[in-house]
Amino acid sequence: MSDLLYKKNRKFYILLILPALALYCFGLVGPLLAGTIPSSFYDWNLIEGNKDWIGFGNYVKLFSDTTFLHSLLFTMILAVFTIIGTNILAFFVAFLLNEKIFGKTVSRAMFFIPNIISGVMVAFVWIFIFTGAIPSVAESIGLESLANVSWFGTPTMATVSVIIVSVWQGTGFLMMLYLAGLQTIPQDVLEASTLDGCTGLKKIIKIQLPLLMSTVTINLFVSIAGAFKAFDIPFALTAGGPSKSTQTVALNIYNDAFGSFKTGYGSAKSVILFLIIAIVTIIQLSITRKREVEA
């Protein structure tokens, strides 16, 4: 788009984003600035009805709150595994589905379906798979060791279960974006590379991935923000158990704010979570943006 055209129509463009911006401010920026941030400075308990200004008291307290710190650690672990897992798997699946294979559209839909089912439903299905389906199938084919796995029995296994289900659900959406990205790569570039003898893995790394960087940026952004906000799957799958070992930050905030009604304390934790996500995504955006190339 030419700069001249942009300057001429600038007012009109701004006008176009106004409705969305207004809704965004009303639903997100407003409550954050007028609600969450101010209330994080209060000792505020909804049921007891007290609301006392304590300055940074909540923030000081949360850095010695072992449950919160553990939930932060667990969220990081979950984030690293799901971000890497979903992106690699999504790219792989997208790459396969981009080829001329049998039943392409049906397969695409199949991979996308987990994304449109609610997290709670997904968790219930997987509880059945872990405790009902896997043991029965493993037993019937004589795999005693698999049948005896306790998927929620130890903190480690519960973490593995949460990661598996999160990756399973998150892959479909990212796959769609990768697929769309792969299809925007001009055929002539690909043909030229083939003629020059660049095929197989080399073609993926040298040609397709660099041209996909804008999609990678978006996908990392989406999966990072999603991983740090993880709530529904851990909540329904393990309820944070055993013994709070799979409690994410979002779940920890929920338990404090809506379980114990520590509204002020929960708000302070939310602000910290907000800052963490903001910092991580800003760093990620600045790194991956630099690597974007145009065909």
Partner: protein
């Protein structure tokens, strides 16, 4: 093309506005209607908020009986399917509590009374009828601030057929008899205990019963010291408590951490396990699966002394009346109906007299009989019961106890860690 889409969108917009407007007007009509009714002294609606449970159907039946007997008051029970405490918190914050609502005994009743939200019920007719043992759960400052609707029992429910088959003649009353029974059941190929440990609230119930057994007559002193911030979960008999937990772990089958409460309740009902450490509410599932299963009940045998095996019986549900409700008189009338133990077809008959239902805290000749109820009545009439420990500790205790003891079941925390963490978290809770 452009024009048609414009016309279409305008038409759609108009349709939507019309829709909104019609909603608004129908709402207005509804409000006017009820106002007119209450002015002329016709029907007044009394709402009672209850937490989600399998008993909701029975509550509605109980309400229907009341509504069919008169037409001045419409009694409606509203079950909150989500987190009940969240609902209460939101309604308290908005000053919009229903006419009547369920509260947990002790701490929560005291909290609402302290904040001036609930009505003093000391002079209500039910106060004469209820057991003295049930009063403490609803008292604050020497006055009754709620009606103790039912009392619940925690203990070990067992499949009588399996016990007979395994050659267990009498129910275990000591820890060695309990271990012996488990071995006999295992020898017959039965899973001795049904696991429920994925839901941490079941661990809280278990641990609370064991604490009661460990404390015995010292319970009240200990609770006082805990609430004063000087006590510790590391009680004298702590080793025995953890020994019992170990026995439970050894006898709950494979992968016991993967089973939640529903799975455990069903395991007893289906005959997959011989015993279940839980409350009478766990039998509600059985009503639809296997209602004729002979199920007995015995108190947790944690020590070597048979006299220590007392059944854990305490008030489970308290009903409070909103002090600022619009129809306090009518609400009290409903409460009187609910607590009438001479009414053989009323509230009690519909809600507290069936398989898995908790019995009322007063004398009532029920029509439903079952082995576990006979066992329960024997414990009650011999005064061989004790109250639940956790309900008398600070609000929020159940969560920290459940979550921490779950770590012991999962093997990620040992006895010393569990006790240390419980003390730390409890100190945070009351600070």
């Amino acid at each position: 093309m452009k024009k048609t889409s414009k016309i279409m969108s305008i038409a759609l917009a108009m349709l939507m506005t019309a829709g909104l407007a019609s909603c608004g007007s129908s709402d207005d009509k509804g409000n006017d209607g009820s106002k007119a009714a209450s002015n002329s002294g016709e029907t007044v609606e009394v709402k009672m908020a209850v937490w989600g449970s399998g008993a909701a159907d029975n509550f509605n039946k109980g309400a229907d009986v009341f509504n069919s007997r008169q037409d001045k008051i419409k009694f409606s029970v509203e079950m909150q399917s989500g987190d009940y405490n969240q609902f209460l918190g939101a309604k308290t914050a908005a000053n919009d509590l229903p006419d009547m609502f369920f509260l947990s005994p002790y701490a929560q009743v005291a909290q609402f009374a302290k904040n001036g939200k609930t009505l003093d019920l000391s002079d209500q007719p039910f106060a004469e009828r209820i057991y003295d043992s049930a009063k403490a759960s609803c008292e604050y400052d020497g006055k009754l601030y709620a009606y103790p609707m039912v009392q619940e029992m925690l203990g070990i429910f067992y499949n009588k057929d399996m016990f007979k088959d395994a050659g267990i003649e009498t129910v275990p009353t000591t820890i060695s008899e309990f271990e012996d029974a488990c071995e006999k059941l295992k020898a017959k190929g039965y899973t001795p205990l049904a696991a429920t440990y994925k839901d941490s609230w079941t661990e809280n119930h278990t641990f609370s019963c064991l604490l009661g057994a460990a404390l015995q007559d010292d319970m009240n002193n200990w609770i006082e010291s805990m609430n004063a911030g000087t006590g510790s979960f590391d009680v004298e008999n702590a080793d025995a408590m953890f020994r019992f937990l170990d026995i439970m772990k050894e006898n709950s089958g494979d992968n016991y951490m993967d089973a939640d409460s529903t799975a455990g309740f069903n395991a007893l009902a289906n005959g997959e396990a011989a015993m279940l450490f839980s409350g009478e509410f766990s039998l509600l599932n059985m009503a639809s699966i296997n209602p004729d299963l002979p199920v007995g009940l015995f108190a947790v045998p944690m020590t070597d002394n048979a006299a220590d095996a007392k059944l854990d019986v305490d008030v489970g549900i308290c009903v409070a009346v909103n002090k600022d409700g619009k129809h306090v008189d009518q609400t009290l009338e409903v409460l009187d109906y609910m607590s009438d133990n001479t009414d053989k077809e009323g509230w009690i008959a519909n809600t507290a007299d069936s398989l898995g239902a908790a019995p009322v805290c007063m004398d009532y000749e029920g029509a439903y009989t079952a082995d576990y109820l006979t066992d329960y009545q024997k414990y009650v009439s011999e005064e061989n019961t004790r109250p639940w420990v956790y309900q008398q500790l600070a609000a929020g205790t159940q969560t920290i106890v459940g979550d921490t003891v779950q770590g012991y079941f999962a093997g990620s925390k040992d006895q010393a860690t569990v006790l240390k963490e419980l003390d730390q978290q409890y100190a945070d809770l009351i600070s």
